[in-house]
Amino acid sequence: MEKSCWNCKASVSHKDFFCRSCKKIQENVEINEFEIFSIDKKVLIDFDILEKNYLKLQMLFHPNKFIGLSQREIEASNKYSSKINESYNLLKNYVNRIKLIIEKSGVSIINHEETYKNSELLEDIMEIQEEFMFAEVDQKKKIKEKIKKSIDQILFDTEELYKKRDYDQMLNNSIRLSYLSKILN
């Protein structure tokens, strides 16, 4: 898809953030969370790449780099910079990341959450929660370690589920993960 630059009218592709001829920032370029950070759509991601590319992107789009330019350009920078911040936070958090993968695969999440509300998952979680609440300080540390290990395992499993495109089970896991992470905090 081709459109033309608002400033110099040169033709630009719908994926170009900057015009190739006049270098001006372009408006309303769609941002795909995984794509913009050059990260594969997977459950387990490389955080170093995420961080590195986050800073690189902000270096390009942060409003501080647009001071003294036109209101139009400042607004575009503000939008992209905000979207990059939001995407970065989504990708950094495993629960949001899994949900994002499911959504990007075209599966609606809202209807599914109901299904799992009363499952045995909740019983499991309550058990861990209780164990944690009544534990001594030393014991708490151990439980935390256990939860962390269990989270790692679930993440690994979820990756396998994704390979099989088992979105229902992935969602189930993401709910479990979100409860576990709440206990940790």
Partner: protein, 597 residues
């Protein structure tokens, strides 16, 4: 992806300049970078540190170090603290005995700072980066910005004080790693945890207490001294005498930097005594407050999942960190390196001018900050629905969809809140927005998109859109004398590119905004006015509105002001009839509560 190239300033070999202004509770500092070198603006007496004091009496205005010791007691101190509560309340008297607000006192002080900058800089430049406590709320931020703006400064950025200090440290000392900035000033306590890597300054989180500072040390110690040495009921002490005594105690406190024990003759409430001062006693009296700062610090670390071992050092900022006891406690509780090798009073302004220079002339550095407090909306039952949570990187844009709760509802009240508590009454209310003129539809059908946008200055702009009509509705904002954050943004971004515009011009813009608002408000109640008021009255109102609308296209501030006041007077009758209070209080009465989808 194409790389961005920053345009060179046109035909202009001279570098642009941008001041760094640290408007502090106790002292203010201005600095600027010229020829790659940082210099501090000095006052008439050659001081870099300018006490944030304003003295008004008998037609005379005095500022900073020009105020003599006698006058200090009668002068306005710690004006910055007043920004946390209604800074528009006219609670001060100026040199002509007129009532003025904290914003106006601060404006006068900024005008003084500007005059110092004028005489220091050969070329005039009023662009500046202004620092604010990290933990300041939206209202305080925008009001401080407004004060400086009214004084004639063009604020290029607001940056958080601890971030600014860390920026100076990072650049000047080339530090990298995770740093904890502990900023204890005269009136505010701020902490920020930052990750510094080459050229990138990323704030991970921030916290603090906007009403805790060195001033509290002084009053705690003063209390202690009076209790110990004078058998007096503090409630019966004259406030002037107490103020004088506090300034005296402040000096005693500063002496502890050099000695642990000393004796002095002290007069308090006409009683003279020889008093022994002992550093341990001082430490004891401030113990609780220092530990409060440690608790705030520790909980931020916990919140961000950062262990003590991960912190590469603590950077001390603010005059009150000179206190030995603060350092001792920090060292003991964190067991990490303490950086106190730069002047804690000057480092914030230093960072601001370095950042200002970067902004105006372009640089490879990048500064990423967060919002200190959560922002949200009041929902049914007086609960706060968070839209943007604290420590979210800025800029941030977030949209949430709301709907109506009653059939045929044509307006919606949106109350914006800031804070961390569950119920809205415990949080700061930033204002109410009324979205009117919705198409009447069954409850739950309209989709109203409320958009929160925090920019890099930490300033919030809110807009609401009725999706069904596809048109952005006018936001009628409930106001009294205050200018909303939204408008402030408008002022700052409005075409005042030329820094030499005078204050009258700025006042004109403020009056225009006020005028537009009252017109909006009256339109909102048009039908009510027609039924409740006499024909003559309605005619007058409509004539005044037409006249005011015409004036809005011209630039006569006095005329707009006159018409505004007339219109306010004319609508008084209506307001009294309706609810017996001021017109401005009325907006919002009809709007139904909103429900979230």
């Amino acid at each position: 992806m194409n790389l961005l190239t920053i345009e060179e300033p046109k035909n202009n070999k001279e570098k642009n300049i941008c001041l760094g202004i640290d408007f502090g509770t106790t002292n203010s500092v201005c600095s600027v970078i010229t020829d790659e070198k940082i210099s501090f603006i000095k006052d008439e007496k050659n001081n870099e540190l300018i006490p944030t004091l304003v003295y008004y009496k008998n037609g005379i205005k005095k500022f900073g170090n020009n105020i003599n010791e006698k006058e200090v007691i009668d002068s306005i101190k710690s004006i910055k603290r007043k920004f946390l509560k209604d800074p528009d309340d006219k609670i001060f008297l100026n040199e002509n005995e007129q009532k003025i607000s904290a914003t106006e006192v601060a404006r006068d002080f900024f005008i003084y700072l500007k005059s110092l900058c004028d005489s220091f800089l050969e070329l005039k430049g009023y662009d500046c980066v202004l620092t604010v406590p990290a933990y300041y709320d939206e209202k305080a931020r925008s009001e401080i910005m407004r004060s400086a703006f009214l004084a004639g400064f063009n604020i290029k950025r607001l940056i958080n004080e601890p971030t600014s200090a860390a920026f100076a440290y990072g650049i000047e000392k080339s530090k990298t790693g995770t740093f904890f900035v502990y900023d204890l000033g005269g009136g505010t306590f701020d902490i920020s945890i930052l990750r510094l890597s080459e050229g990138v300054f990323k704030v991970l989180g921030t916290s603090g207490d906007p009403i805790l500072g060195g001033d509290d040390f002084d009053s705690l110690y003063a209390n202690y001294l009076v209790k110990k040495n004078f058998d007096l009921d503090l409630k019966k002490i004259d406030s002037q005498e107490w103020k004088r005594f506090i300034s005296y105690v402040k000096k005693i406190k500063e002496n502890f930097e050099f000695k642990n024990n000393f004796e002095e003759n002290v007069t308090f409430n006409s009683i003279s005594k020889k008093i022994k001062f002992n550093k341990n006693e001082f430490n004891e009296s401030i113990y609780k407050l220092v530990h409060k700062t440690i608790n705030i610090s520790k909980s931020l670390c916990e919140e961000l999942n950062i262990t003590d071992e991960e912190i590469d050092g603590i950077i001390l900022v603010g005059g009150s960190t000179r206190c030995e006891f603060v350092k001792e406690v920090l060292e003991e509780k964190f067991n990490t390196k303490i950086y106190d090798d730069t002047n804690p009073d000057l480092v914030v302004s230093r960072g601001a001018s370095l950042h200002g220079n970067d902004l105006i002339n372009g640089s490879k550095n990048l500064l990423l900050d967060v919002t200190p407090l959560s922002l949200g909306i009041e929902t049914i039952g007086g609960l706060m629905e968070k839209v943007i949570s604290r420590n979210t990187p800025i800029p941030a844009i977030k949209e949430q969809i709301f709907t109506t709760s009653e059939n045929g509802q044509t307006s919606l009240k949106i109350k914006i809140l800031q804070g961390e508590r569950e119920t809205s009454e415990n949080n700061i209310s930033l204002g109410e927005f009324i979205l009117s003129g919705l198409e009447p539809k069954p409850a739950g059908i309209p989709r109203i998109i409320v958009r929160f946008s925090i920019d890099v200055d930490g300033i919030l702009v809110i807009s609401a859109l009725d999706e069904s009509s596809g048109v952005k509705e006018d936001l009628i904002i409930k106001t009294d004398d205050k200018i909303s954050i939204n408008d402030l943004k408008e002022i700052v971004e409005s075409s005042i590119k030329n820094a030499e515009e005078d204050i009258n011009y700025r006042m004109l813009i403020e009056w225009k905004i006020k005028a537009k608002k009252i017109i909006n408000e009256i339109n909102y109640f048009k039908k009510d006015i027609e039924t409740l008021c006499m024909k003559k009255n309605v005619e007058n109102i409509s004539n005044l509105i037409n006249m005011l609308k015409k004036e809005l296209n011209k630039n006569d501030k006095d005329k707009i002001e006159q018409l505004y006041n007339k219109l306010n007077k004319e609508t008084e009758i209506f307001a009294e009839k309706k609810i017996g209070s001021e017109f401005s209080n009325l907006v919002g009465q009809n709007a139904k509560d909103l429900t979230q989808i």
